[in-house]
């Protein structure tokens, strides 16, 4: 008897051991998955966060009327096109009188971004009063300087392998000593379109492109999805046709996104001749892709509305259509919107189908409407990942951070929407 209890307690111990191990396996699985999430966020965050600041150089710029506006017309359109490079060259000459050789002066000028002159142009066009005055202005530094100040240049390499030579370094050091060089918040990143100069490039153009695409996508997919859901849940009788529709919807939900891109390529672009590379086509493709998500979510929302509500309305003499549109649908609307927001979040991150319809191009101008050529946020990330300039590595990561921020915001909205309007029937 005692013998038996001994073995059974050993057995029990083994069984409990297995229990603990099993439980820990679950924990470890979750920890690994979430740990990876954290690892990825931290890695990208570390690479990208530096792009939110931008190195600038302080120069005393004399807006020389002789150079910019000899006729003193102060026409903003003309001022925007004037040549501002000489102003910068002059200001640098003042700061570095010891640099006299033409070649060196050129190199000195390259401490500043190619776009610095345009910054001056924009300022002057906005405020013609500047002409003739002298101002202290923080101008954008070139990507090489920016990378150096951010500590991303390995100074251990031989001089002739570095993009910045020792002379340049000594100039930068001088600027640093005078407090003429500083990292500032990079607002251009959020207000500008793409650029060849990493330091001048921004994601605003891509954001607007994404916005227009999502707008088209929502305007088409949401009503269609909701109406389909209403039909299937409230009106349709089980029949061969409805069965086919249901199977179709479920299948479409699992079709790879790139196939939708091909559909867009051959039908929207090939057959219908819609303009290539535009948010219009992008939105249409995304709409077809999000449709199943919205239909499935809307159906679930409709199904959760209790029958008593419908019966009450019908009992008071409302028709089926009235019951549905006046009572059932409003009650299900939060659920439907939640589905729509989640669908839109998916569409925002979608890249592959947009590659198929030509939304991959170098586009500087911010699109003004749905028929302008545009790209989108994830495609911009893909494009920047391909650019040879080093400065784009941090931009790519930063653009990812922005994209993720949008996605998290959208998902949070969905959660809040669900929490706020969720009714327990």
């Amino acid at each position: 008897m005692p013998e038996h209890s001994l073995t059974s307690s050993a057995q029990l111990k083994a069984r409990h051991g297995r229990e603990t191990r099993f439980r820990w396996m679950g924990r470890i699985a979750i920890l690994l998955s979430l740990g990876f999430l954290v690892f990825m966020f931290v890695a990208i965050g570390m690479r990208g966060s530096s792009a939110f600041s931008q190195t600038r150089i302080l120069l005393q710029i004399n807006f020389d009327e002789q150079i910019l506006d000899p006729q003193a017309k102060r026409d903003p359109a003309q001022l925007a096109l004037a040549n501002y490079k000489p102003l910068i060259t002059k200001a640098l000459k003042q700061l570095f009188p010891e640099v006299t050789k033409r070649r060196d002066q050129r190199r000195l000028g390259r401490l500043l971004s190619n776009g610095a002159a345009f910054e001056l142009a924009d300022m002057a066009a906005k405020d013609p009063q500047l002409i003739g005055t002298t101002r202290d202005i923080w101008l954008t530094a070139s990507a090489d300087v920016d990378m150096l100040i951010k500590g991303k240049v390995d100074l251990g390499v031989e001089e002739n392998l570095r993009r910045l030579k020792d002379t340049e370094l000594s100039w930068i050091r001088k600027l640093q000593d005078n407090g003429h060089i500083k990292k500032k918040f990079n607002s251009a990143f959020f207000t500008k379109g793409d650029s060849r100069e990493p330091e001048m490039s921004g994601i605003f153009g891509a954001m607007v492109g994404s916005f227009f695409s999502l707008l088209v996508c929502f305007v088409i997919a949401f009503p269609m999805g909701v109406l389909t859901a209403i039909y299937l849940e409230e009106f349709a009788k089980k029949s061969f046709i409805t069965n086919i529709i249901e199977v179709n919807i479920n299948n479409l939900a699992a079709v790879p996104s790139i196939v939708f891109g091909l559909l867009g390529l051959s039908i929207f672009l090939g057959v219908m001749n819609l303009p290539r590379s535009t948010p219009l086509v992008g939105g249409l493709v995304l709409a077809l892709m999000t449709l199943p998500t919205i239909i499935i979510a809307s159906r679930a929302a409709l199904r959760s509305v209790p029958n008593t509500l419908r019966e009450a309305a019908l009992g008071l003499g409302a028709s089926k259509v009235q019951t549905t549109f006046h009572h059932t649908v409003p009650a299900a609307m939060p659920g439907m919107l939640t589905g729509a927001v989640i669908g839109m979040a998916g569409a925002l991150g979608e890249t592959a189908p947009l590659l198929m319809i030509g939304m991959v191009a170098f586009i500087v101008d911010v699109p003004q409407g749905i028929t302008d050529i545009a790209t989108s946020l994830p495609v911009q990330i893909f494009l920047w990942a391909d650019s040879p300039e080093k400065g784009f590595v941090e931009r790519t990561s930063a653009a990812i951070l922005v994209l993720l921020a949008f996605l998290i915001a959208m998902n949070l909205t969905a959660v809040i929407l669900r929490k706020k309007f969720e009714k327990k029937w």
Partner: protein
């Protein structure tokens, strides 16, 4: 007076009825879109694929062992042989998907088991949205991360152990895709596990089984069809995934099952064939549609089976 009132009532009733019927007709039309889209996909893919099969016989496409779509794009260019055998792409796709599933299945299932059987509601409320966040991350982000962080790590670890790992190894792309699939599997399986009737596990626990025993011997066997369904859906997703492989897997069509080799997938080839050269008549462009048709049929088939399995499962416990 009364009669006319009656008449207007009847007329307005008729108008209302017409209005309602129009609305319902509109609903029917909207719901037909789903069918239209499917028809559109099939028609466009099949049409272009048909043109392709006129240039390249279907048997050499399906059973060809070599993929090198380097046909000359000009009359006087020496391209290469221009072989359009899809098997290397298929094997590459399967290799990467298998790696992904090897990573995602245990992690996803164990997460689901923990969340549905062990976790308290409070932890669950925290962890579930976090895992869902992982699904919401755009695949271009995973792709960037795979190419720039994961692949070098794998390469360096590999060379530390004396392995020669290609920098575009299937392993990096597969690993990343697996991580993408974890929350997908875990949330589907979580639903499945939660829907196993409590009476079953209660009976088992009541007989003195531990929780782990109940789960492995009662709950999981009962949920097997549902779990299988969710795994099938995950595979279908892995096969169709594009950006991760475009950025991390490369273009070399090796017929290889070695995870350290560089392979290419169907989706990668579609992207490369269509972004380089968008003319609508060359065999190269048309090949993209043929691959896409195959991809569509594969994912569709997997999805159908998965749905069948799910439905069967539902009828058991409904």
């Amino acid at each position: 007076m009364k009669q006319s009132h009656d008449l207007t009532l009847r007329r307005s009733g008729r108008i209302a009825k017409i209005k309602e019927q129009t609305i319902i007709a509109g609903l029917v039309v909207c719901s037909m879109i789903a069918i239209l889209v499917t028809i559109g996909i099939v028609a466009s893919l099949a049409f272009e694929a048909f043109l392709f099969f006129q240039k390249v016989p279907i048997s050499s496409f399906l059973f060809g062992l070599e993929w090198s779509p380097q046909t000359a794009i000009r009359a006087d260019q020496v391209g290469a042989s221009g072989k359009f055998g899809v098997l290397p792409l298929l094997s590459g796709t399967l290799l990467i998907s298998t790696i992904a599933m090897v990573v995602a299945t245990p992690l996803g299932l164990f997460s689901a088991i923990y969340l549905s059987q062990y976790a308290e509601t409070r932890t669950r409320d925290w962890i579930k949205p976090m895992l869902e966040l992982l699904t919401g991350i755009p695949t271009v982000v995973y792709g960037f991360f795979a190419a720039l962080v994961v692949a070098p790590i794998i390469r360096n670890t590999g060379s530390g152990f004396g392995f020669d790992i290609s920098s575009e190894s299937a392993l990096a792309a597969g690993l990343m895709m697996g991580i993408m699939l974890i929350p997908f599997i875990s949330s589907l399986s979580d639903d499945v596990l939660s829907s196993v009737p409590k009476t079953l596990s209660d009976a088992s626990l009541g007989l003195g089984a531990t929780k782990a025993e109940t789960i492995t011997k009662v709950v999981i066997p009962a949920a097997i069809p549902g779990i299988a369904g969710s795994l099938l859906l995950a595979i279908s997703r892995a096969i169709g995934e594009t950006m991760i492989v475009v950025m991390a897997a490369g273009l070399s069509a090796n017929l290889s099952l070695n995870p350290f080799d560089a392979v290419t997938t169907m989706t990668v080839q579609i992207v490369t064939l269509l972004t380089g050269d968008q003319e609508f008549d060359s065999a190269k462009t048309l090949a993209a549609f043929a691959i896409a048709l195959l991809l569509f049929i594969l994912t569709m088939g997997l999805n159908m089976i998965a749905l069948k399995v799910f439905n069967k499962y539902r009828t058991i416990y409904a």
